[in-house]
Amino acid sequence: MNGNPQSQNTNATRGAVTTPMARRGPWAVLSSMRFALALVAVLIAACITGTVLPQGDMVATTVRHHPDAARRLGLLRTLGLTDVFHASWFAALLGLLTLSLLACGAKQMMTLARAARKGRAISSLLIHLSLVAILAGGLIRGIWGQKGSLQLHAGESASEFQCVAASVPLPFDVHLLRFEVERDEASHGPASPSPDDGDRLLLRWTAGGQDSSLPVDVGTAQRVAASSAGSWTVTVLRYLPDFMMDPVTHTVETRSAQPRNPAIQVSVVGPGYATTNWLFARFPDVTMPMRQDTDAPFRMVYERHGQGAAGGSVRNYRSTLEISENGRIAKQASLAVNAPLSYRGYTFYQSGYNPEDTSWTSLLVVHDPGVPLVFTGFGALIIGLFLSLYVWPRESAPEAEPT
């Protein structure tokens, strides 16, 4: 973590070799590269532990499935290893790393004036300070950050949101004007002469019970048995990605390879019954001929992979909000997934919806005053790395090896 010119680094390194760390002052220890590297090694071990061992809610699930592991997990909990990234020892480790980065940065600043390669020293300093900024931003989030949820029906208002422990008041009112599920109209999926692997032919039994779901395998006869309705043979005869019928000749063909109007022709043979129909993914209530097997004990639906009956795949979920302060409308805007809405330090994110009640929306509310500092740190880190690795690299390339 020391980016001083090479000669100074070498001196620092030699000092570290000859003097035991314990005998050196806290400043020398904190600003030494060996100490920083040791911290990084411990941090790596902690991070691996946090991803390998069951963490948080997973502990209870693990105990439920493996009761014999309860004792060992209890021991891990005592050691603070079942919620590593929120444990106080992990926070202390990050705090120590911040101190080490600050000490290295301070040491670099003190030697900057007499550094032989100032550019390299500045870029190294920038990297270390950017990391401090990122960690400080995280600390600000931990102390002053707020995170919660807000659920609204269209037409409802709220002036607080729900955190884990309690309701948190907002300095303004939020009113949901509407919620919409946006779908792709022009996108029809892959161009293919055959149905998608995930396409299904559903048989919905009129007598009730679970639907029979069959793969759409063209040319394969599939047997379906129902205790009260006997045995039935269902065969998908043809698949057309973009169905059209000549109005004069009634010839059926596909307009293109794009699945704009996917359709399958299905033959059904059962006890005293035989028919052939066209089914349409986009129009589940339409069949050709215009008769949906009235004598059959089931109704057939062609379900296209990745698309509900409502049409194209979901493009986004959008809530339109009206924000008011002291009874006056201050802002009206919409938010969607990947496009949050910010107002006076609070940011609203689209986090959920109810397919059974499309006037309802669930929003995530975040107040994180550390974000500007963290993002500044991100920018400085990338600039510092580019300068350090490409503009003022540590070592020049060796001479080309003769071939």
Binding site: T13, F85, D197, Y317, E395, P398, A400, T403
Partner: protein
């Protein structure tokens, strides 16, 4: 489109054969030809990805198949950059082999284009995945060079000091390239996460393992400044770093669930 993919695989295999022959007969023109053919494979893959982008209307970096194709494309690019002004001719063969195997492995995954879920419909997807995989490619090249250095540095192998120095320099250069792009990938991922999920960091397994990888390579770049961590030790750190890359890419997708679960 699949013809382009098969063509790229064929070109990579041709580069592998040329580079392997060059290892045996050591001809400068053969070495140059192998490197040129390797880059030509990347050009074919560029055409494939451009076509896929055009068909799907989005950057083709959203699932395992597409990311493997991207990695196979990035390997020759990272190799070329790491090798600028250096001559480690033997590295072309393992890079060609690695790229060909990656492309062949991509062929085991479904290649159909499907609509993306709303969370992935963002321009950040292209920037985040592209930079991460350029980083992975650079680190893969460093791994191959580090293996070469470990073999060359064995006392039984009578290699020259210049050869070992070239290999060490290649390791450092490719780690520098990979580390920079991995950093950009992590940062762009964090900015995107802040826009999509309301937090720039959530200790998701993929994020955590990307951080572990970043820390290992930060360790490598720093320990190069310590006398006691030069040579073989540094190469071992580079090898360890790539093990971490592999776990970040494959291990997390298959063994751990989290916010990046769609990647599998």
């Amino acid at each position: 489109m699949n013809q382009l993919l098969n063509l790229a695989l064929g070109v990579y295999l041709t580069a592998l054969v040329l580079a392997a022959v060059d290892l045996a007969v050591k001809r400068y023109w053969l070495e140059r030809l192998a490197k040129a053919v390797l880059l030509a494979g990347a050009v074919v893959l560029t055409a494939y990805m451009a076509r896929r982008w055009q068909v799907s209307g989005r950057a083709p970096f959203s699932n395992m198949f597409e990311s493997l194709v991207l990695l196979a494309w990035a390997m020759p690019v990272a190799h070329r950059i790491a090798q600028a002004r250096l001559k480690a001719a033997w590295l072309t063969a393992p890079v060609a082999l690695f790229a060909a195997l990656t492309l062949a492995y991509a062929g085991t995954y479904e290649a159909d284009v499907h609509p993306l879920m709303p969370a992935l419909r963002s321009n950040w997807l292209a920037v985040h995945v592209f930079t991460c995989f350029l980083g992975y490619a650079g680190l893969a090249v460093s791994f191959l060079a580090a293996l070469g250095h470990l073999i060359a540095a064995r006392p039984a192998n009578r290699t020259t000091a210049a050869t070992r120095a070239t290999l060490e320099a290649t390791v450092t250069r490719s780690v520098s390239f990979g580390f920079l792009f991995l950093s950009v990938g992590i940062v762009t991922g964090a900015v995107w996460a802040n826009a999509a999920w309301g937090t720039y960091w959530s200790w998701d397994p993929k994020e955590t393992w990307a951080l572990i990888t970043w820390l290992v390579y930060a360790f490598f770049l720093h320990c190069r400044q310590l006398d006691s961590w030069q040579g073989r030790r540094a190469s071992w750190v580079a090898v360890l770093g790539f093990v971490s890359v592999l776990f970040t890419y494959f291990g997390v997708n298959y063994l751990m669930s989290g916010l990046h679960s769609y990647a599998s």
